[in-house]
């Protein structure tokens, strides 16, 4: 039972200080992105109702659950699902006319 971080991580540091299990490692020593130590990660079970790293991560799809599924799937952070993307884009451009 552990989360993981994939290559879309932008190394913004938001998750690291929040982890109650100190399972997140920064991109030091040649690593290009942050990592979760699977031996330490508890998915915040017993500490918080919501897993902390995925609750602050600003990048959709960067943090995965143990099944490899995105905890913040596409559209979940912008509030605009992929199907509504074009419609939203037109609305946004229209409102500034």
């Amino acid at each position: 039972m552990a989360f993981s971080i994939n290559d879309s991580c932008v190394n913004c540091w938001a998750c690291l200080p929040l982890c109650p299990s100190h399972a997140i490692e920064a991109n030091s020593g040649g690593a290009t992105r942050f990592k979760i130590d699977p031996r330490k990660c508890t998915e915040c079970d017993g500490d918080y109702a919501d897993p902390q790293c995925s609750s602050i991560c600003p990048i959709e799809g960067a943090i995965l659950n143990s099944a490899g599924e995105a905890l913040n799937p596409p559209g979940s952070l912008t509030g605009i699902s992929p199907e509504c993307f074009e419609k939203a884009r037109i609305e946004i451009q229209e409102r500034a006319r």
């Binding site: 932008v10 913004c12 540091w13 902390q52 451009q93």
Partner: protein, 499 residues
């Protein structure tokens, strides 16, 4: 052979420290802008380049990028922040630990004695990184007591941090407040991280707004100066910001800085990708004028990077990278003495100028009929308050308004601002430059090439290279007078009515 250029500082000459970053003789309204401030506030801001228009000609600031994490999302921000070629808030090249940051500040303070202010502004939110931010402030309060500290925040965790903030040498805080209406807030801030949960939409925006207002009140109560930054987003908060201005003023904020949204698709921000446009220069200036009735407005902000170093409008960050500061050995006590000397010279220079300006108040255009319409002009200058830059070398233009009421500084416009990733030079840059001058009817520079001369005329802008080395206000007044004589100013031109 290298020619000596007026306006560039000569090393070690006593006057070389008095280099003016932007170049206006008076920046328009320095005294009137600041004159109503109570004495204790005036004392705090008069040497702060980001708060006092006059000070930004003389004093430099720096930001250290120690605060990477953020606790909210703004649609104008991309959390990937490693571009070296862009200048905008939230962008940095090198993230520093507090120890590295302190070392950098000491090195810069010794090398640039005019540097009086150290700010922490990101690249995330300083107060979402309290350990790193406060460790930096704590060390600097002890090691470099002659440097003013300031911090810029989104305000979400401000109320909880006010006590800690007040322990250091901080007397200015900037809060970015884009709205006081959560419905509008939800269009700008899609979520906030609050009490260990992600809170989205209107509910999240409501929390952010409440925290910002509470933080503002708490700081004012403790006598900390608060400046409010707002990003002007057409179609989202453009109709709302004058209300924001009223409310923050009533709560005791002392300065409001309305900045244009920076939004290009290549920045990878939500707004950039979605095609949300930024305001044009006229929209920005109109809103600033509208708010000015209620509030002290700031117009010289350069929207600098979270690791900027130097005078406003310049960035000397590349001289102080980690590997370079590692080799610098600084005796800070000696540096402090030197700094005090330089500051005394600057103050003596400012006092002299202040005296001279008393004889300078006469309006050079007062004799023209009052129905002549006002005109905007762009000026190319490298500093010292004179027209001394070639049109083709100008990276920014200062915008002045001339009218029978006099010559007034309006703001600055950058050209060729962003790294677009290709070598799009020549024609493209000229077209961009001309676009950036929208609304201006004349360009005053020391020299200008034949081709751009023609292109400017086609665009309805009068090029003028006849005032090289003259004081800017004299040049603007002179061009206005010529326009008046040639009959340009009697009827409102169609150009003015163009969007």
């Amino acid at each position: 052979m290298k020619l000596k250029v007026l306006g560039q500082s000569e090393a070690d000459s006593p006057d070389s420290v008095i280099k003016e970053g932007c170049s206006k003789k008076s920046c328009g309204s320095t005294n009137s802008q600041m004159s109503h401030l109570p004495e204790h506030i005036f004392e705090k801001v008069k040497n702060h380049p980001c708060y006092s228009e006059d000070a930004h000609h003389y004093y430099a600031r720096m930001h250290v990028a120690v605060a990477p994490a953020c606790n909210i999302q703004c649609h104008y921000c991309n959390r990937k922040y490693d571009c070296a070629n862009e200048s905008r808030p939230g962008v940095v090249s090198e993230l520093l630990t507090p120890d590295q940051a302190v070392k950098k500040v000491i090195a810069v303070a010794a090398a640039i004695p005019q540097m009086t202010v150290l700010g922490i502004a990101g690249p995330g939110d300083p107060l979402a990184n309290p350990d790193r931010t406060f460790e930096t402030f704590r060390q600097l309060t002890n090691k470099a007591p002659d440097i003013k500290l300031c911090v810029s925040t989104n305000g979400l965790s401000l109320p909880e941090q006010v006590e800690e903030l007040c322990r250091y040498n901080i007397d200015h805080v900037t809060i970015t407040i884009n709205c006081i209406d959560p419905e509008i807030g939800a269009k700008i801030h899609p979520w906030v991280f609050w009490k260990n949960r992600r809170v989205r939409g209107v509910k999240g925006a409501q929390i952010l707004i409440e925290q910002q207002q509470k933080g503002l009140e708490m700081l004012v109560e403790r006598g900390v100066l608060v400046k409010i930054n707002s990003v002007l987003i057409p179609g989202v908060n453009d109709k709302h910001l004058s209300e924001v201005s009223k409310v923050v003023k009533s709560k005791g904020a002392f300065l409001h800085n309305v900045m244009p949204l920076i939004s290009e698709v290549e920045h990878g921000t939500f707004y950039g990708i979605m095609g949300q446009r930024g305001p044009n220069a006229r929209e920005l200036s109109e809103l600033q004028d509208e708010c000015a009735g209620d509030m002290n407005m700031m117009r010289h902000c350069r929207q600098c990077r979270a690791d900027a170093v130097g005078l406003l409008g310049e960035d000397r960050g590349a001289e102080f990278t980690l590997d370079k500061i590692e080799e610098m050995n600084v005796d800070y006590n000696a540096a402090m003495e030197k700094r005090a000397e330089v500051h005394a010279q600057i103050e003596a220079h400012r006092a002299r100028k202040e005296q001279e300006s008393v004889t300078w108040v006469a309006n050079p255009l007062g004799d023209l009929p009052s129905n002549a319409r006002p005109v905007l002009m762009a000026v190319a200058t490298k500093g010292q308050g004179v027209v001394n830059q070639h049109f083709g070398h100008a990276k920014e233009f200062l915008i002045y308004e001339a009218s029978p009421a006099g010559v007034r500084f309006i703001g600055h416009r950058r050209v060729d601002q962003y790294c677009s990733g290709d070598d799009n030079c020549g024609e493209g840059v000229l077209a961009t430059t001309i676009r950036s001058l929208e609304g201006c009817e004349a360009v005053i520079c020391s020299k200008i090439g034949y081709a751009p001369w023609g292109r400017l005329e086609e665009a309805g802008i009068i090029p003028n290279g006849e005032y090289a080395m003259d004081p800017i206000e004299d040049a603007v007044a002179g061009v206005y007078r010529e326009m008046f004589k040639s009959g340009h100013l009697i009827i409102a031109s169609n150009n003015e009515l163009r969007a």
